[in-house]
């Protein structure tokens, strides 16, 4: 029983490299909003080769897309969450990093430079009014 388990885990560890080599299973694709790392070529400097090879391997090992998709599915089906997006009330998706990180950034900026920001908005408002243009943004005082 133990030997079977060890063999199974060892087999699982080898599956990605076997898939990369002989493509025995159909490729599953996920859409990523970035360019995957290219295969390192002979023009690359020797000292940068390990890093480039690591990046390429990280982006191209066998069953990567399937694993990413499975992780997202488990997160959503079991935990009702996602690492990268927030699901809005009407089914809209919001990037988590943009939504969450922007709040403290705005607060930090306003706490340090609120006088300058208000002065600039006032100046812009006055200039627009002088030109008989009606500003319609939220901050109008």
């Amino acid at each position: 029983m133990r030997l079977w388990f060890i063999t199974a885990i060892f087999g699982l560890m080898l599956l990605p490299i076997i898939q990369m080599t002989i493509h025995f299973a159909p490729e599953y694709t996920v859409n990523e909003n970035r360019a995957l790392a290219p295969i390192p070529n002979s023009k690359i400097a020797l000292d940068k080769f390990p890093k480039a090879a690591d990046l390429w391997f990280g982006d191209h090992f066998g069953f990567r897309s399937l694993l990413i998709s499975a992780k997202a599915q488990i997160d959503w089906s079991i935990f009702g969450t996602s690492d990268r997006v927030i699901v809005g009330r009407s089914g809209q998706l919001f990037y988590k990093s943009l939504e969450n990180d922007s709040i403290p950034s705005y607060e930090s900026l306003l706490s340090k430079k609120s006088d300058i920001i208000i002065h600039n908005i006032d100046t812009l408002t006055t200039t627009l009014k002088r030109q008989e243009l009606k500003p319609s943004w939220l901050f109008l005082r």
């Binding site: 029983m1 694993l67 709040i103």
Partner: protein, 251 residues
């Protein structure tokens, strides 16, 4: 745990609330244990494959009821090395009444510096050295009630982890002030980062760091199914989020 701890420790100090600071500190306390304990287990396993038998490095340190016990359970190989090659040659416990304390402090100052040439590591070493000295002196005078021994030890370890994780002493101080409720205010919503999956792994982390799982008799197929599931989910995490380097790889 690492992603939550990284997120909380990256929040500007003026935006740190008590909730975010405690979340970060507790997550990092769990992260550093599982990170280093797992790293050690990998070394032990790889060594065994090659015919070497290495000693265990951790013995559920967060079960400790005192800092002295913690250091008997945490990074045992380093503790034994410092004891055998520094503390005992310096005279150990048998060199008067004051000298053992200075030896102890010296050992922990060097233990801190062993982790890196940074004031935060030095402070972490001094902090643990001071706690051990206080514990030794205090033992003769005060008996800490059993009910608070464990929570007090975990609290002190968690505070120590803040020194270890913070990039500077000033940031460590701000982080600890935030933990004490003297931090800033923020509209940052922790619930975006502390999601159901993170809470599940946090609870599992607490269970596996405190419960003597080896003493619980579980059928081998169930253990294997659990190990296989954890292995598969870990592969998914690496595929989705990339490889997060071990904290201890630089030491």
């Amino acid at each position: 745990m690492g992603t939550v701890a990284d997120k909380m420790f990256s929040i500007p100090v003026d935006q740190l609330t008590a909730a975010t600071a405690w979340t970060g500190a507790l997550c990092y306390t769990l992260q550093i244990f599982f990170d280093f304990s797992g790293y050690s287990d990998m070394a032990i396993g790889l060594g065994r494959m090659l015919g070497f038998r290495f000693p265990e490095n951790f013995d559920q340190p967060y079960r400790s009821r005192s800092i002295t016990e913690f250091w008997r359970r945490w990074h045992m190989t380093l503790s034994h090395w410092f004891r055998d090659y520094l503390y005992i040659p310096l005279g150990g416990n048998r060199c008067g009444s004051v000298r053992p304390y200075s030896n102890l402090m010296l050992v922990f100052v060097l233990c801190g510096l062993w982790h890196g040439a940074a004031y935060t590591f030095l402070l972490w070493g001094c902090y643990h050295g001071a706690l051990l000295i206080i514990e030794r002196i205090g033992r003769a005078w005060i008996t800490v009630p059993t009910i608070i021994q464990w929570p007090a030890t975990v609290l002190l370890i968690t505070i120590g982890c803040v020194f270890f994780r913070s990039p500077t002493i000033s940031e460590a101080k701000s982080f600890l002030l935030a933990m004490a409720g003297m931090g800033g205010t923020s509209s940052l919503d922790c619930s975006y980062d502390v999601t159901a999956d993170k809470i599940t792994f946090f609870v599992l982390g607490i269970v596996f760091s405190l419960v003597r799982t080896r003493q619980i008799k579980i059928a081998l197929p169930i253990k294997q199914a659990f190990a296989g599931s954890v292995f598969s989910y870990s592969a998914m995490l690496i595929a989705a989020n990339g490889f997060n380097p071990f904290i201890y790889f630089r030491f």
